[in-house]
Symmetry: C2
Subunit: 140 residues, 2 copies
């Protein structure tokens, strides 16, 4: 299996995946995609597996993985020995990072919400709690 049945131009791949042509070439340069076959003219010639791999990259990106991390995931997914264990570890790390970020943002949100609530929306700038909080030493 894995015989190259179809032959797609870079534009066709881009259209299927919903990504720019330049992005595909960029990923190739960055080692996220293997170097494709070439036609006699020099045109890149892709098979369906590239489409799948590009979708993999896009989904991982949606999950917040960086391209560096995705490159690693791709390598791990090909590692039959330690692949799964390491993949799970990376996913757990990503999960922890996301949770930390959520916590930070919630703290920021709570602080800002309190300020917005306590601001009447009119009056002198000196009495605006938002401006005061920004200008003064933090109290809490």
């Amino acid at each position: 299996m894995n015989i190259q049945i179809s032959s797609l131009t870079i534009g066709a791949v881009a259209k299927r995946v919903g990504v720019a042509i330049d992005t595909i070439r960029y990923y190739e340069r960055e080692g996220l995609l293997p170097e494709p076959l070439r036609r006699a003219s020099g045109y890149r010639s892709y098979g369906e597996s590239t489409v799948a791999q590009l979708r993999f990259i896009r989904r991982a990106k949606d999950l917040g993985f960086t391209l560096d991390e995705i490159r690693e995931l791709l390598a791990l997914s090909a590692d039959r020995q330690r692949g799964v264990k390491a993949v799970k570890q990376r996913a757990q790390q990503r999960l922890a990072a996301i949770e930390q970020r959520i916590t930070e943002l919630q703290r920021v949100r709570d602080g800002l919400a309190q300020l917005v609530e306590s601001c009447p929306g009119h009056g002198k700038p000196e009495q605006c709690p938002i401006l005061r909080a920004l200008a003064d030493e933090a109290k809490s």
Copy 2:
């Protein structure tokens, strides 16, 4: 009031606020800080108000405001007519953006958490739910 009592070098200001010297000059170029007085030698000479303004900028940045937004907040804080109302509006917008970002991240977290949970952490890559989710069409 607002008489220049103290005279601080850029290094002294940087140290007090906990920010790099280059950053202060950068903020000046970007219009977030006014052009300071100069000594005869050309050295910038700052008063305490600059320290306060820098702290304002840092706190606003901690709340997730961009430098563009902070520049606007600084202008608004000097506007005795519409300042407070506009400041509150900007804060509300920032708050809404933060809440949206939190919601997005929670969605991502839930998806990733489910994958991590369902992955045994060993076995063949083809059976790893994380890799499968990345490689296959999204089901849900």
